[in-house]
Symmetry: C2
Subunit: 390 residues, 2 copies
Amino acid sequence: MPAKEEFVVTPYQVKGKIDYARLRELFGTEEITPALLTELRRLAGGELHPLLARGVYYSHRDVAALLRQYEGGHPFFLYSGRGPSGPLHTSHLLQFEFCQWLQAKFHAPMYIQITDDEKFWVRAGLTRAETERYGLENLVDILAVGFDPKRTHVFFDTRSIAALYPIAVDVAKRVNYSTVKAVFGFTPSTNIGLLFYTALQTAPCFYPSWAGGAPVPCLIPCGIDQDPHFRVTRDIAETLGYPKPALLHSQMMPGLLGERVMSTTGDVADNALFLDDPPKEVDRKLRKAFTGGRATVEEQRRLGATPEICSVYAMWRTRFAETDEKFAQIDRDCRSGALLCGDCKGELIGRVQGFLEQHRAKREKVREYATSLIVERPPPGAKAPEPRGG
Amino acid sequence: MPAKEEFVVTPYQVKGKIDYARLRELFGTEEITPALLTELRRLAGGELHPLLARGVYYSHRDVAALLRQYEGGHPFFLYSGRGPSGPLHTSHLLQFEFCQWLQAKFHAPMYIQITDDEKFWVRAGLTRAETERYGLENLVDILAVGFDPKRTHVFFDTRSIAALYPIAVDVAKRVNYSTVKAVFGFTPSTNIGLLFYTALQTAPCFYPSWAGGAPVPCLIPCGIDQDPHFRVTRDIAETLGYPKPALLHSQMMPGLLGERVMSTTGDVADNALFLDDPPKEVDRKLRKAFTGGRATVEEQRRLGATPEICSVYAMWRTRFAETDEKFAQIDRDCRSGALLCGDCKGELIGRVQGFLEQHRAKREKVREYATSLIVERPPPGAKAPEPRGG
């Protein structure tokens, strides 16, 4: 990211007011066009997930080609992940809800990576016991969005290392310090775990091809901040004999306090809704959430509010407006001044409380089998394709 | 290593004429004194291994303290390893013969690490299939020196990663790019596998303490070129709650062509005796081996030869003079001119041929159980000691 930009987006830092169109240019990714959305809707059986319909997923790499292959009889698999540095927020689940929708519509195997090693390396204050505990809790929350356990596989880095390492070894030989320094902004004081780590985040992209002995296309829905990891992956994929993964990039979710990203780093617990927040806490946090409202009711009635900067609007947009019609209505009434922030929050609070109650019930059912989905061993007899060029 | 020295010794480069006393000073290690040798002899039941008696192992770290602990009832374990970049030479076995002697005399568990990942990362032309094949063959050769299979454990990196990784993750958080750059001479074009690797070479030092839940002292016999790896290890051991490993350092073995290190890198196959060399090949290679002999017989009779630079003398010294008396006799007759190089070689050739024949017979017995000694899984329930200082 050039220094003149007013924002920074890497897998290890997101700051400033992000200009998403500019970010797409800087990263060199493709726009999700109306034509691509039409294709996605058709192949998904006539439906479009709200995160696509409402532009939260807004950028991609090679998805059009992936869909052509899919239609030609080459199924793909899905890969996404989570760095377990703490309990999940409601916004963390969005990516997985989207993956679950893709799994159901495209009959796709899903691989979930829990990067407990990475988060231990990246956060000075975290112990391995903590990242492991968070990882197991996060996994249960993720699976609770409704993944089909028969087609869902989990890489929990410290438990799955035997399965991931053979591929990571091949990858690591092709990536040097200069590259990770340039891509991730690492410095000489970065620990060697983190320097190595991108090899492990790459491994799941190639795993089904390696395990099955034939190339399987990969689709990765992720925040745009994770794109740099997979640029490294894409640069070396073909040399190692694997297909380049395709990507669907989402915008970052704003925090409740108006931060650009829903993050609780730095003990700003009120910036996010945790999945375990009780109803009263949901009420309290949303009542104080940052909105795009005006200084006075009179002014808001007259001028309307500004949804682009509103954390409450972002929640309607990403999950809580269950139909596009409902979302359009919220959008219209917000902009016109017909809807006041207090009333808008009041309606949302009830929905969030209901969502969390349902989520917690689903989670307890998933808990019984969650760890059984962890891949612990490489497939018997799996051989990496002999890399090209020695 | 300061630039003004005429030699370079790191785990990844050995060049120049090595001044071993100076190297000990530069590395800051301790000399193996006559008093320490007396202690070693006493605790080993009155015997001293030729590699100690003849000064091939010449430097150490903390071995005196280790022996005091041993006498006080705290047994230690042994750890050594091999980077499988090709078939073994006769000189590669010396370190393991020495370990086997220590195992027998001190009833010590032995851990052998086969670093197939490291050699794949360090040598551009090697494939993973090759390092794996060499690793398995090297392992059989190493075990054939007579390790007690009931007290010998093997870490074969790509197969043992599940056992090594939890410790390596802890280690990697404590080591940064600046450190590995300074210690190993790495550059921005070094691949991220090699940058990470020292964490894996450290893991076996702590493994028995981790697996058993109580500190177990570690003794590492190794070439002095490997000391930098374990300086990193020693710097972080106590912070992680483990004892610092003790080290016994050997000099490097000269090659048959007079190279300072017996290496066959660069296709100089005649620089070393391979364990599979047939009798005729042993004869041919030794006949052309570099010696410290004079230009003419007459001159040698009059002035004597120079054993310090002689590859044949090095072989007598390290293995083939079975008693110290025999070695003293060779040494005396060489220096006096009584022994001519051709006669000396003739006697050695027969011994080497016999040694190799016996080695190959032992190897076939070991082959049956070699891979069963590979540690594939971490001990159930093993927890790292909670590191100090977060």
